[in-house]
Symmetry: C2
Subunit: 259 residues, 2 copies
């Protein structure tokens, strides 16, 4: 793979990458994103993706990248001075490897529906973690409200650790309308609400609905779910963060389904 | 409550607060910290704490703080220009309210031991979230390795949402030695290891051991636990973040104990 060195901020490729790093709209219009780190690039390739451009920071050893680069076909390779590379990286200590890559459309998962429905999750790390939890639990679909952070942002991808490549996503959804149309059991995860979560039969077609960190679920979404349930807490504080609550709930469904 | 206005960075009170904001060592030596936001201050008061100093940003409405201020006895109140206040706040958009407060020693929890053992959790938000999960689940103790982030840092307190005020903590612990001395069942949470987590009887005295985000548990700690177990994942990626894995595990113990 022959590398092209780019040293100017005015280079059109650099400008295009910078837009993808910074603008959700640019990512949406191009249906592209930037993958940060060898780990994410590996997960992308494992999921059948082929990056468009492979970007190396000058100080990153090209030899260390050879095995991954060999898996990239028809991929343009560029090398950037560290200062320019850092402008594209979502983290303070850049990994040294980025890839410009198209969004993937993971194949539909043929199993009893287990849907995670996320309303207005605004923190990219939390959103990524929730998608990762869903993917690890074998969720068949993630439904994201219009108010959610962009799941294809570099920070959300970092939190997801490859979840976005394997878990089918529907973004920009009117969640209340989606729940009204869903034929299975939908459960709004709320505090101190109607049902004890552990008393529910989670073996059938299921959607678990989790809300925003601060505000929780909106009333409209809470009411659109068939059931509102809380995870019983026995401790001295009565709250779990949204990400922890979703993990407990979705793995309780996994547990019930395997016994 | 009479407020003292401080306008200089050279003021000794400001310098003391700034050290608490920035230095784990200063916090440890004084056994003090800074509580950021009305929410944390409320949780601290609810847990029986009395802050030493109440700090308001000049632009924050003093009237809004009156009810909380009335609960603070023998507390010195100061007001800072917004620029100085921002230097003390752990977040980019400061809440406008801080309190200088001593670490609390929550009373021992008289119940079957349910201990969360955390090895080298370095991200303050993750550490706070894991303590919050433990507190919500009714954990009786949190044991933190020497390599963990300071649980009393402003960012860890933010993640904990009051957990540090109600959950007894032991910091700076040699985890392997602690596990060797623990008489109950200790379970190292690991990937694809010996036991299926759901097959364990979690009803007795229990310690759940979770490791660092990136590296997982060290071999020494893994071997010091009586059992190594994994949470079965049915999805297309084989990993949960440390915080999600702990949440699933500790609430499975809660579920087993209540049935």
């Amino acid at each position: 793979m022959t590398e092209t060195a780019i040293t100017s901020r005015d280079n059109p490729i650099f400008k295009r990458l910078k837009k993808l790093a910074e603008s959700a709209r640019a990512r949406r219009e191009a249906r592209m994103t930037l993958l940060d780190s060898e780990h994410l690039l590996t997960a992308y390739l494992d999921a059948g993706g082929q990056p468009h451009t492979l970007v190396r920071a000058a100080s990153f050893d090209a030899g260390k990248l050879a095995a991954l680069a060999a898996r990239c076909q028809q991929t343009k390779a560029i090398v950037l001075p560290d200062a320019l590379f850092a402008e594209l990286s979502p983290v303070a200590t850049p990994s040294g490897v980025l890839a410009e890559a198209a969004w993937l459309n993971p194949p539909v998962i043929d199993a009893t529906p287990l849907v995670i429905v996320l309303e207005d999750i605004q923190d990219p790390g939390n959103l990524g973690a929730m998608l990762r939890t869903g993917a690890a639990a074998g969720a068949t679909l993630a439904v994201l409200s219009k108010g959610c952070h962009d799941p294809w942002s570099p920070k959300a991808l970092r939190g997801g650790q490859g979840a976005q490549f394997v878990l089918p996503l529907q973004g920009g959804v009117d969640v209340a309308a989606w729940l009204n149309a869903f034929a299975g059991l939908s459960v709004a995860l709320a505090l101190a609400e109607d049902s004890d979560f552990y008393a529910l039969d989670l073996g059938g077609s299921l959607a678990l609905v989790a809300g925003n960190e601060g505000a929780g679920l909106t009333a409209a979404v809470c009411e659109a779910a068939k059931v509102r349930a809380h995870i019983p807490m026995t401790g001295r504080i009565e709250s779990l963060n949204a990400s922890a609550a979703l993990a407990v709930a979705v793995f309780e469904a996994v547990r019930q389904r395997r016994t």
